[in-house]
């Protein structure tokens, strides 16, 4: 199942970009300009939409001429590459995008040939499926944990180091009760924001040093 590795999906889309000599700037440049200003942190549209671990958008101008004796050839269109590593298959994933960030999808893909808009879900899905490439080989280092599970584990790890550091040499009774409290606080903590550089953590770990 090349698009999938364990529970993770590696989806690849190649959308031909409109070639209109009268557009100024050209459509590929307009996509680039838009992407240049799009936030890549917790304010990214992909942080708001579900299930994206990592993704990229790349305007592929052309193929590369590697030099004689290879032949020189060129693409007739430029293509917008969308490479995503996510928790759901194409249909569910694209549906998630269309429902949560239609505005941003339109802003990007409206420059592509035949894009129907995100408003009509079935047309949007058909369009993206027409642009989908079959991933030949997909590797994922951690392939059995969803995004929320990973974010939660990362926050847990940070909290656990602090807890261990602050509770060294503590008597068992106190250790146990503080650990109980720690678990409760950890549970009550919301899952960290996807895309943020440092996971915000309001949890205190108690112990002597805080």
């Amino acid at each position: 199942m090349p698009n999938q590795n364990g529970k993770l999906y590696g989806l690849t889309f190649l959308a031909p970009i409109i070639d209109d000599k009268k557009a100024t700037p050209s459509h590929d440049l307009q996509i680039r300009a838009y992407l240049a200003t799009l936030p890549t942190d917790q304010n990214s549209p992909f942080a708001k939409a579900p299930s994206t671990h990592l993704c990229r958008l790349v305007v592929m101008d052309d193929v590369v001429f590697v030099g004689h004796p290879a032949h020189e050839e060129h693409l007739k269109s430029k293509y917008l590459i969308f490479e995503t590593n996510c928790d759901s298959d194409a249909t569910d994933y694209l549906t998630g995008l269309a429902k949560t960030i239609p505005q941003q999808l339109d802003a990007i893909w409206s420059h592509c040939v035949g894009y129907p808009g995100a408003a009509n879900l079935s047309e949007f899905l058909s369009y993206m499926k027409a642009c989908q490439l079959k991933t030949t080989f997909f590797f994922a280092a951690v392939n059995d944990k969803s995004l929320p599970e990973s974010l939660r584990a990362l926050a847990t790890q940070r909290a656990v180091v602090d807890f261990i550091a602050d509770h060294q040499g503590m008597d068992p009774g106190r250790l146990q009760s503080e650990f109980k409290q720690f678990l409760a606080e950890l549970k009550a903590c919301p899952i960290p924001e996807p895309g943020a550089m440092a996971p915000l953590r309001n949890i205190k770990t108690g112990g002597r040093n805080e």
């Binding site: 031909p16 890549t40 030099g67 280092a141 656990v160 250790l175």
Partner: protein, 197 residues
């Protein structure tokens, strides 16, 4: 407009292949997929978060009509997308040092590939066939593949210990707590920003 987001680097490469070589590459990927031991080296080079290869045969560039010109190409193309931790140089150095056979097996079918060893012509080739990322998003910019694996180990151990906290007496708990610490002690590195390049 950067190839880098936090601790992860987005590399994009496109290389041309003579169409008669493509089925050979497909076979190699098929074998790589099904012979799990061959993937072990890739897993042990623990700085890749996600990577993929996509073969685009010359007739299969998406064609959506509507005044789009159909592609007329001689070559099939191999697209490569990697999400890795560390610097560009470190990444390529590592592959060239320990995975050159595997790299050669995948890229020898691409035109003018010089081989993964020695390092300088290899880096020159990659620089030539690499193109830049316009937008790169990661849900966990402060975490590498190693950090993620460590986090899952800690989470699993914590979940195990949680089951004890209500039933153990303090001394029993202290013992289980020590076991827990020993289980996670190699996985406690703090996460945060990447070193500056």
């Amino acid at each position: 407009m950067s190839n880098i987001n936090g601790k992860v680097y987005a590399m994009n490469c496109v290389t041309p292949m003579k169409p008669w070589k493509t089925p050979i590459l497909r076979l190699i990927f098929f074998l790589l997929w099904h012979i799990k031991s061959k993937q072990q080296d890739l897993i042990n080079l623990s700085f890749i978060e996600f990577a993929r290869w996509v073969i685009v045969p010359k007739t299969q560039f998406p064609y959506l009509g509507n005044r789009q010109h159909k592609e007329q190409l001689q070559y099939d193309y191999l697209l490569f997308f990697s999400n890795f931790n560390g610097t560009w140089n470190q990444y390529i150095d590592a592959f060239s040092a320990v995975l050159s056979t595997g790299l050669n097996l995948i890229w020898r079918w691409s035109e003018k590939f010089p081989g993964a060893v020695p390092i300088t012509p290899f880096k020159t080739y990659i620089a030539q066939v690499q193109f830049d990322t316009d937008y790169y998003y990661t849900a966990y910019p402060y975490a590498t593949a190693n950090d993620l694996k460590a986090a899952h180990i800690v989470q699993a151990s914590l979940d195990q210990l949680s089951q004890r906290v209500d039933t153990d007496n303090p001394d029993q708990f202290a013992e289980h707590y020590l076991q827990f610490v020993l289980q996670v002690q190699a996985h406690l590195g703090v996460t945060g920003a990447a070193p500056l390049c």
